[in-house]
Symmetry: C2
Subunit: 151 residues, 2 copies
DNA sequence: AATAAAAAAGATGTTTTAGTCTTGTTTTTT
DNA sequence: AAAAAACAAGACTAAAACATCTTTTTTATT
């Protein structure tokens, strides 16, 4: 569905939303460690997100990545666009050149309604919305013992 | 979502369901041409589907691929399993090791319900069901001018 | 029997995605 | 000013996905 680049990126941003702010930053190494993702690969992704102003960073000692208030008003869709472009999601499930109600493929009506609903959530709900929900309901961000409550 | 291998494979089977039977076979070259897919790549996929008895074939002059009545009782899910394995669809949208209601990731409840509904359709509806529907409603299988009615 | 037409099988090549490594730049601390 | 700690950038490597090419096997036609 999503590329692994995108999965790492989304989890990183949600992680930053939960644990950082203008005065508390976290380094690439620690993020990679907590999310169990390849460190140099994730560093690239963080750079990309920084370029697109979806996350913030400062260099030097005590520097690191963090989410500003403004950053938190972005959406998961913004992350997806930054990492792999939006085109992928307009495509037909069976690979036809265009996906449309006018010229539907045999599975179009099975798939396209759901796709739109999912995309709408990703386009509408902000990062801070997701972060709040994780805090409230205790959802999981990491693969290992690390749990969002132990911190 | 699906690999291109899988897309080609599913379209091929639906194509065969519409245009072939025990006494009317079609060669790999023509299928590739009609579906606008890379010919040698598709030939491999057809071989794989044949090995798994999802489609039928005969060698030699006037040989080719076709769908037997039994073949038509398979499902799209059977094709997916044959081409890229079923595991992929159990995975978490954000790449966590396990996707479950017990330990949901932040997007789990956005995504997993839809995924299950789609999968159910793919597991329940037979190829002949899809073929009938295409005949009835004129859905599209190919990228180019080729239309299911012109034949 | 010879030929030709098709699929089957396996080796090989290309492209994209994933991931690493090295070097440079900025900034804080001393 | 020097050193150290971080991010930034770009070159590089590895693996998977995508695709092709070549040879073999089967079978209908002549
Ligand atoms: S046309 Fe195939 S999914 Fe819409
Ligand atoms: S846990 Fe992530 S999609 Fe189910």
């Amino acid at each position: 569905m999503l590329s692994s680049a995108n999965k790492y990126a989304i989890r990183s941003v949600l992680f930053l939303a939960l644990y950082t702010n203008e005065s508390k930053k976290i380094g690439a190494k620690e993020i990679a460690d907590k999310l169990e993702s390849p460190q140099p690969f994730l560093a690239k992704l963080l750079q990309q997100l920084t370029r697109d102003k979806l996350i913030s960073s400062t260099k030097g000692p005590n520097g690191g990545f963090f989410l500003s208030k403004k950053n938190k008003e972005n959406t998961i869709w913004d992350i997806i666009k930054s990492i792999e472009g939006a085109k992928k999601f307009d495509q037909c499930f069976l690979g036809l050149s265009k996906c449309s109600d006018e010229k539907p493929c045999p599975v179009h009506y099975i798939v396209s309604g759901f796709k739109e609903k999912i995309l709408k959530e990703f386009k509408d709900k902000t990062i801070s919305h997701f972060a709040d929900e994780v805090k409230r309901t205790g959802k999981i961000l990491s693969l290992k013992e690390f749990n969002v409550f132990n911190d």
